[in-house]
């Protein structure tokens, strides 16, 4: 889902940089207020954890393996604002160090995977969980939060690709950037993220939450609120 350089025009990537920068500023202000001096090592730790989640290959039904983005589980474990900064730092390091995702597309990639995905995942988790404490309901909430967070991020990516032929064309009408219209980009991205990538994301989110519920429920922000971050 990492958008490379050359697929988005300046009309798209510059505003998305602006939106991402706005979210980074708010997230940092909130975390600094909440954690005071500790916010620097805490965010670095959260970002490293977010990176390492992607290093684990998870066997999925069908015999193959995949890895998760991890933004959903980070949002549930550490809170959505921490996830915004943690996943953004990882995406920046990936773009600078590994060539995963373009440098002009950092703003867009951060908006999709570090802003939209954590908030959607966290919102879905809270919505489905409600006030229930039952293990099954929490597991379903966790699975759907990871699954829907990833699908929404993929759809946003598809929309960013799909609007390129509408907003950036040459004098002869040829698309200058991503060539696929919305009618192609959305089904293509939706299909591969509804299955299997969404399943992997949902499974990792659910398995990790189950593990924490069993062993260290106090550490989960989605259950204990900001006190989990301070502890």
């Amino acid at each position: 889902m990492h958008i490379p350089d050359g697929y988005l025009g300046p009309q798209t990537y510059i505003p998305l940089y602006g939106v991402s920068v706005g979210f980074w500023a708010i997230a940092q202000k909130k975390l600094k207020k909440q954690l005071s001096l500790k916010h620097v090592p805490y965010l670095a730790m959260a970002a490293a954890f977010s990176f390492l989640i992607m290093m684990f290959n998870v066997p999925i039904p069908g015999g193959t393996t995949g890895h998760a983005v991890g933004a959903g589980i980070i949002a549930i474990l550490l809170g959505p604002w921490t996830a915004v900064l943690a996943v953004s730092v990882v995406l920046i390091i990936q773009a600078l160090l590994f060539g995963d995702g373009g440098i002009t597309a950092v703003g867009a990639n951060c908006f999709n995977m570090a802003v939209a995905m954590p908030f959607v995942s966290y919102g879905v988790f809270k919505l489905i969980k409600g006030k229930a404490r039952g293990e099954v309901r929490l597991a379903v909430a966790a699975f759907l939060s990871g699954y829907l967070g990833l699908v929404v991020a993929a759809l946003l990516t598809a929309v960013e690709f799909g609007i390129q032929p509408l907003i950036a064309t040459g004098a002869d009408g040829r698309p200058l950037y991503a060539p696929y219209p919305l009618s192609v980009a959305i089904p293509a991205m939706a299909l591969e993220h509804l299955f299997p990538f969404g399943i992997v994301e949902g499974l990792v989110t659910m398995l990790l939450l189950k593990y924490f519920l069993k062993h260290e429920p106090d550490l989960v922000y989605g259950l204990s609120g900001p006190s989990a971050a301070k502890s």
């Binding site: 954890f49 390492l52 773009a95 160090l97 373009g102």
Partner: protein, 308 residues
């Protein structure tokens, strides 16, 4: 009479991590995890090694290189023809040669990524189903054109001239952007790249978070790799998917605890050394004549490429 051999010893052994199955290589999840981690660690070392060599770009101030990278990537995304993109590619290639980098190592990655993220993704758009235009390579002919919902399939399906141009443009853009990124990456230590982001007014606290995270990643990648190796060396049969998923969940949770502990240790060390929320990076070294001369040369080259 039933034997007393434990069931796990009766299961067929898996002597190696890669097994042949119906002509395909199936790599179990542990092997894949180890490969991913090894590539992270390897890349870190390769970058450190190349950036300490005595080439042209290694001697240049990181701020000049960061501004060059952003300026040229912007130019690459703005160009609308293949020929100027090719000129830029030649220019970056010459800079890579002057910097004494391993052309084979860098361009193997650049071409692979360019093929995957540029050519392969863009290839279907070369067909007239997506990009209308003159068909230069007919592929199939249908009895009549088909329309369903918002989609239109013409009677003659083929590759168009306009489509080929679009695919070539996207492939060249991806290759050029990657060539530029790797040129900077392999000639500049990572902490210098991060520090140079100050010229873009990125707050110091954000830069220190990136720097700390980068260090944590390499420390903990080794830990995660050790976990995978330890697990692989202790199993005598293949794990079921459920067992494997439980193991992964347990290890991720362990890494979470470990990162929290590390965070506490780092925080205590910071407080112990008098950290008082004032983050300030040490000043940059003074720009030399070589830096200024290179900056002017790269700027003028960029202007040239912008207008050709």
């Amino acid at each position: 009479m039933a034997n007393k051999i434990p069931p796990f010893l009766l299961a067929p052994p898996t002597p190696c991590s890669i097994k042949q199955a119906k002509g395909k290589m199936r790599i179990p999840f542990l092997g894949r995890g180890i490969n991913r981690l090894a590539s992270v660690i390897r890349e870190g070392y390769a970058q450190w090694d190349f950036s300490s060599q005595n080439g042209f770009f290694q001697k240049i101030d990181a701020r000049v290189k960061i501004l060059f990278l952003l300026f040229f990537i912007l130019i690459v995304t703005l160009k609308r023809d293949v020929l100027p993109e090719t000129y830029i590619w030649v220019f970056v290639f010459v800079l890579t040669l002057l910097s004494r980098l391993s052309i084979a190592k860098i361009y193997k990655r650049v071409l692979l990524f360019g093929f995957l993220f540029g050519f392969l993704i863009a290839l279907p758009s070369a067909f007239n189903v997506i990009t209308k235009g003159d068909v230069v390579l007919p592929i199939a002919t249908l009895p009549r054109p088909y329309n369903f919902w918002i989609y239109h399939v013409p009677a003659e399906i083929g590759i168009t001239r306009e489509g080929i141009h679009g695919v070539a443009m996207l492939t060249m853009r991806v290759i050029n952007s990657l060539s530029l990124s790797f040129l900077i990456l392999y000639t500049t230590p990572f902490h210098e790249i991060v520090r140079a982001l100050k010229v873009l007014k990125v707050p110091d606290s954000f830069l220190i978070i990136i720097t700390l995270c980068y260090k944590y990643i390499f420390l903990l990648s080794k830990t995660v790799e050790d976990m995978h190796l330890a697990k692989r060396s202790r199993i005598v049969r293949e794990l079921s998917p459920t067992e494997a998923r439980e193991w992964v969940a347990g290890r991720i949770a362990f890494i979470f605890r470990k990162t929290r502990l590390r965070c506490e240790e780092v925080f205590k060390a910071m407080i112990g050394r008098g950290f008082s929320d004032t983050i300030r990076f040490c000043g940059f070294r003074k720009m030399r004549m070589l830096d200024w001369g290179t900056a002017v040369f790269l700027f003028l080259s960029g202007i040239f490429f912008l207008f050709i």
